[in-house]
């Protein structure tokens, strides 16, 4: 598969009155053509800042790109001037946001909002733009598109508005779609529809998707690869199967255990959570950012940031437990245990 986006050692900081917030620290990953890559993490893990950096949407200042490169077809986005960035935004990389209720301009018809990017990037006439925008509304399955075209956002429901957002982001056939928590603000029943729609459109227009979310349930259905972020760093990365069943990082285990499941019975009937709070990014710890909340933490975890250990093919885990001298700890998640049980049963039969 062809690489279309390469992020190398990205460091993003925010200069505030209280000091420098190191939101993204030494993040590297690649994006391949046609794939869906999920970036998972809790609030404040740096996943949104990372995604917005790809089209330089973080306000500068206070945001500052301290180091690293973001290569789109080999060209560094961080070197681009504002004018050049405007040509990339919306045309090569589209983005949809978390809250469809506030992400559309309330005083402009949805049709016009879709046409805007088209007229900016492809310099087409108004009538032509209208035709394409109508086609987009049809593609995102908005019923009665001719009529809805001239309506305002407040006449649409949340799910419909997110469809409009998708239409806006995809109208110029971008190579990359960044979806920043696209389903978080929606009803669960609508979430699945939106995810399915994104999947369908991805196949149609062959775009790569970067899916930012904190919901592993969302990821399981849509992504081929997963990056887990914590405290501004990538703590684990691998294919969806590797992360779900063969994770080698205690934070990922915590995340997986926090997903409420109907098929796994729990004795006490309580939901699991990860104890503690994320690290202070004004003064990030020099060791592993998760060490303070990690039940397996060792002395070295607090002193030295673990490297990305290779824990499988294209599977990397930044945890000292994977060092050859570390005590052997098995993946304790219920989902992994269930899998092992099933494997044992299979062998017995």
């Amino acid at each position: 598969m062809k690489k279309i986006l390469e992020v190398k050692n990205l460091e993003v900081s925010f200069d505030t009155y209280a000091g420098e917030v190191q939101a993204v620290r030494d993040v590297s990953f690649d994006l391949y053509e046609g794939e869906t890559l999920a970036i998972v993490g809790e609030s404040g893990s740096g996943k949104s800042v990372t995604a917005k950096s790809l089209i330089r949407l973080n306000p500068e200042p206070p945001a500052r790109y301290k180091a690293g490169e973001i290569l789109l077809h080999g060209e560094n986005i961080l070197d681009k001037k504002e004018k050049e960035m405007q040509k990339i935004r919306g045309s090569k990389i589209g983005m949809i946001f978390q809250d469809p209720m506030t992400s559309l301009n309330p005083t402009m018809t949805v049709g016009k909002q879709i046409m805007e990017a088209l007229m900016k990037h492809q310099k087409v006439a108004k009538s032509e733009a209208r035709k394409v925008a109508l086609e987009m509304l049809r593609m995102v399955q908005i019923p009665n598109p001719e009529k809805r075209f001239d309506e305002y956002p407040h006449q649409f429901s949340g799910g419909m508005r997110q469809r409009v957002m998708i239409a806006i982001a995809l109208v110029c056939n971008p190579q990359i779609l960044i979806a920043d928590e696209p389903t978080t603000a929606l009803d669960v029943t609508i979430q699945a529809q939106i995810l399915d729609l994104m999947k369908n459109l991805q196949e149609k227009i062959k775009t790569s998707i970067i899916l930012i979310t904190h919901d592993l349930g969302v990821v399981a259905h849509s992504a081929q690869r997963i990056i887990v972020m914590y405290g501004g760093k990538i703590v684990e990365s691998g294919t969806t199967d590797q992360i779900f069943y063969k994770s080698r990082h205690p934070y990922t285990w915590g995340l997986l255990n926090s997903v409420p499941r109907l098929d796994i019975h729990k004795e006490d009937g309580r939901l699991d959570s990860i104890e503690g709070t994320p690290p202070d990014l004004f003064a990030p710890p020099q060791g592993c950012p998760f060490a303070d909340r990690c039940e397996y933490a060792m002395e070295i975890c607090r002193k030295k940031m673990p490297p990305q250990f290779e824990t499988g093919e294209n599977h990397h885990s930044a945890c000292w437990l994977n060092h050859e001298f570390a005590p052997k700890v098995e993946n304790p998640t219920q989902i992994a245990k269930k899998l092992q049980k099933e494997e044992v049963q299979m062998r017995e039969q």
Partner: protein
């Protein structure tokens, strides 16, 4: 929409009735009447009172006035005998109006411009400069600002005439003086709302589409930021038209503003009533116009029509 406007007009009539009744009662509650001059002989005074119908009981006077009002007759002035109140308003109001709408336009255009520039340069030099202008505009009263402007631009530089004649240019200095405090208010308000809109999610959406800063401001910020300005436009317009007494004095404009004050001290009953009702009607009308304008600017506030609330 038509039904809404009709309903509002009916409500306006009711409001006007309440205002005129209140004014009528309060006016007559004052201890004197227009003919309390001690130099007047009691017989003459009595004769004048009979002539203007002031000898009748108050309730009867009220009924007579209201009947005339319904016919559109505001009566004749006591201070300026032989001139009807409507004539005096018709003659002097256009002069106040000429100042008022020019001041409004200056205040709205430059106020908004200043506010947007300040917001786009948040916490930079241009922002602080606009705050400085706004503070000056609000804190220097027109009684000081008027003579200063007249002295520098009129007398020293000789760019503008210092008294108002028939020429357009002579209206500039008084309009600017009148506009200054409203301009400052609008610029502060515009700065705040623009900053608020700039932080909205849909501005990120617009940016993510690849629009330039100018396109974002023109297409996405302005229309959303202008709502609070529209809200104060009605009262502002009324204030600019009625609040021009000082400016009219400084620049020698024979407008309605002066009558507004003098008729009260002279207790010229028909004039007090006439001018109050006229101003009240003007304010009610401008507020109605503003309410209708909302719908044009913000589709969420549209009355009836397709899918509105």
């Amino acid at each position: 929409m038509l039904k809404y406007i009709l309903k509002r007009l009916l409500m306006a009539l009711a409001t006007l009735w309440v205002i005129s009744t209140l004014t009528f009662v309060l006016m007559h509650a004052l201890p004197n009447d227009p003919f309390t001059d001690p130099k007047l002989k009691p017989e003459v005074r009595q004769a004048l009172r009979v002539k203007y119908g002031l000898d009748k009981p108050l309730s009867e006077q009220y009924v007579i006035y209201m009947k005339n009002l319904l016919k559109g007759d505001l009566g004749t002035s006591i201070k300026y005998p032989g001139r009807s109140v409507s004539d005096i308003i018709a003659e002097s109001f256009p002069k106040s109006f000429a100042l008022g709408w020019r001041a409004l336009i200056i205040a709205v255009i430059f106020g908004m411009l200043l506010g947007i520039i300040a917001a786009l340069n948040h916490q930079k030099t241009l922002d602080y400069l606009s705050i400085f202008i706004a503070i000056i505009g609000v804190s220097i009263p027109s009684i000081i600002l008027g003579p200063i402007l007249a002295y520098f631009f009129g007398v020293k530089l000789g760019w503008f005439p210092v008294t108002v004649d028939k020429s357009e240019i002579s209206l500039f200095l008084p309009s600017l003086t009148l506009a200054m405090s409203s301009l400052a208010t609008i610029s502060r308000l515009m700065r705040t709302t623009t900053l608020e809109v700039l932080g909205q999610d849909y501005i990120s959406t617009a940016k993510a589409k690849g629009l330039s800063k100018t396109q974002i401001v023109l297409k996405h910020v302005l229309r959303n930021a202008v709502m609070p300005i529209i809200t104060i436009l009605g009262p502002l317009f009324a204030a600019l038209i009625t609040g021009s007494i000082v400016v009219e004095k400084i620049f020698a404009v024979a407008g309605l503003g002066e009558y507004f004050v003098s008729t009260i001290t002279e207790q010229d009953y028909p004039m007090i009533m006439g001018i109050t009702i006229f101003y009240a009607a003007l304010i009610i009308l401008s507020i109605l116009v503003v309410d209708i304008m909302y719908g044009f600017i913000d589709p969420r506030l549209r009355i009836s029509g397709k899918g509105g609330e």
